[in-house]
Amino acid sequence: MEELIQLKEIKKYFPWKKYKYVKAVDGVSLSINKRDIFGLVGESGSGKTTLGRMMIHLIDSTSGSIFYKGKDITKIKKLEKNLRRNMQIVFQDPYSSLHPRKKIKDIIGSGLRTHNLVRSEGELVTKIEQFLNLVGMGEEHLYRYPHELSGGQRQRIAIARALILNPEFVVLDEPTSSLDVSVQAEILNLLKKLREEFDLTYVFITHDLYLARIITEKIAIMYLGKIMEYGDTESIFKNPLHPYTEALFSVIPKLDPQKRTKKIILKGEIPSPFDPPLGCRFHTRCMKKIGEICEKVSPPLKEVEEKHFVSCHLYD
């Protein structure tokens, strides 16, 4: 398996007023192989979007390294065009991510023009039509505006726009969270098909654990800017090791009564990212806290089972 991207101790601190920082991502290390669908899962504010955007150099990191095919992209000011084209993103909200006054043709085609990937207008249109068809839409949409499309259709346009540049790596930031479930199923199946067709590598951001289970092969569970647990999706679902993961799994509503276990209802709310708890980020809400060590020492990510990493003192 060939590694595509590797993160080492990556951090993002957003400055906030004087002397204050939001520690949005606070020391994340992980590696993603080519053709993986890698899930970033976590509750709101855990740093998923920030991490995803750093991976494709949409925002700078505060410290740490990101190796893309062996090259540290955090050291580069501006990505060379080729690398830029290789890394694409699909945003959460199909209603605000498409320019309202541009026609679908221009929305999908603008990247092709800036990267000089087409030689003539004719070639441009042919290519756009090809990608419209690929995402299951007809040529009749070429000259329409985003407001004339449904949410699912808009998200298809956003996907076409990302894929037409023939990228290798696509960050999908909650691509279906604003869509209806029947439409969501359609978009997910489309994304899976396109991965096969173009040998893509995805980072799939979601807060829906069952959705992550269906689409991803590996997941990282994030909490307050840190990874709590990461590894093969199935292995994490079968055997969640971190108390936070365990609690999350216990409270996701389930259809089948037999699958319900005793709910572990976490106390309180997620602490503020301005001054997150010292030691383990989760200790203020943890039901398995072992003692002072949890308050003082930040647990390192440790491989507890094969390819299954956990950051928790229970496994010291």
Binding site: E43, V181, E186, N189, Y210, K254, L255, K263, E269
Partner: protein
């Protein structure tokens, strides 16, 4: 113990007169809610869940109009009451509603404590000091840490989960018989959703209230409700106990929905082809027919009748009618002839 009907909606039709045309939002909805139950209403965006709720409170917004139907609450038709009567006796008193975005529903310039206290003074004839005392008790009851401090803060200073608790405290302050919760946890994280739902369940059983829970999340319904109604494009397509709907769904839309949602059951997601229709021009006959895998000629022509599947379980689908007719005619000789609900009243 006989179960009393608290709310009965009969053949409710609501249209919105927009510049694009008439949105036929509710196409004859029937529903009964029994005293003390947790009833779930599910369906995708735009199927009419919120409009149903607002009709119950006589709050259908302009350009909407209730065209037809009855809404019987404790046997009285709310649609025949004057706005004054509803305001004085029903809305915010007998029936209260909590919404998806509590921060927007709370008054931004009044502190959290006073919002509740004012409701108590207005509805419960309390004086100011009684109301303040009761407010703190209520905030404690919804597990708000440091209730005195939170009472002095304003809604925008609250997190989503906290704001929802304040909202619940406020709704419970008037001891309503019916609480309508429209997507109360949709904007919340799972860990907070779990807190709020478990709180809601505890409080409801303690206060003996009845809940109409509106959500698009069938798993939430499966965990919290006793019965559930599935809506599609302004029609109630199936009603049953949670077990009947989850394990023995009859309507193709219900079946499709269960397979399309990521859940503990799904290994992959099965699409429901097509999309929800524009209700300015809803499909003829059964509104689901363009997306259905089993469409027959009659589905395009006629609106399917509501048929009883078993006790408490009804569905409106020609496919079911056909398969049932095939099975045996005599078996069902004593066919249920009531409205669209899962129970026969006087059987």
């Amino acid at each position: 113990m006989a179960e009393e009907i608290l709310l009965e909606i009969k053949d409710l039709r609501v249209n919105f007169y927009t510049y694009r045309g008439v949105v036929k939002a509710l196409n004859g909805v029937n529903l009964k809610i029994y005293e003390g139950e947790f009833f779930g209403l599910v369906g995708e965006t735009g199927c009419g869940k919120s409009v149903t709720a607002s009709a119950v409170l006589n709050l259908v917004q302009n350009p909407g109009k209730i065209e037809e139907g009855e809404i019987l609450f404790k046997q009285k038709n709310l649609l025949k009451m004057s706005e004054k009567e509803i305001r004085e006796k029903i809305r915010g008193k007998e029936i209260t509603m909590i919404m998806q975005y509590p921060i927007a529903a709370l008054n931004p310039v009044i502190n959290n404590g006073d919002q509740i206290a004012e409701a108590l003074i207005a509805n419960k004839n309390m004086n100011e000091s009684e109301a303040r005392k009761r407010t703190i008790e209520l905030l404690k009851e919804v597990n708000i840490p440091q209730p005195e401090k939170i009472a002095r803060q304003f809604p925008h200073q609250l997190s989503g989960g906290m704001a929802q608790r304040v909202m619940i405290a406020m709704m419970l302050s008037t001891e309503p018989s019916l609480l309508i919760a429209d997507e109360p946890t949709t904007a919340l994280d799972v860990s907070i959703q779990a807190q709020v739902l478990s709180l809601l369940k505890d409080l409801i059983s303690k206060h003996r209230a009845t809940v109409l829970l509106i959500t698009h999340d069938l798993s939430v319904v499966a965990e919290t409700c006793s019965r559930v109604g599935v809506m599609y494009a302004g029609d109630m397509v199936e009603i049953g106990t949670v077990d009947q709907i989850i394990n023995n769904p009859q309507h193709p839309y219900t079946k499709g929905l269960i397979k399309a949602i990521p859940s503990d059951r799904s290994k992959e997601l099965v699409e429901i082809r097509g999309s929800v229709p524009d209700l300015v021009n809803p499909p003829s006959g059964c509104r689901f027919h363009p997306r259905c895998d089993y469409t027959k000629p009659i589905c395009k022509k006629e609106k399917p009748q509501v048929l009883q599947v078993e006790k408490e379980h009804v569905t409106a689908c020609f496919l079911y009618e056909e398969s049932r007719n095939k099975k045996s005619k005599e078996e069902y000789a004593g066919e249920y002839k009531g409205g669209a609900n899962g129970r026969t009243d006087s059987a």
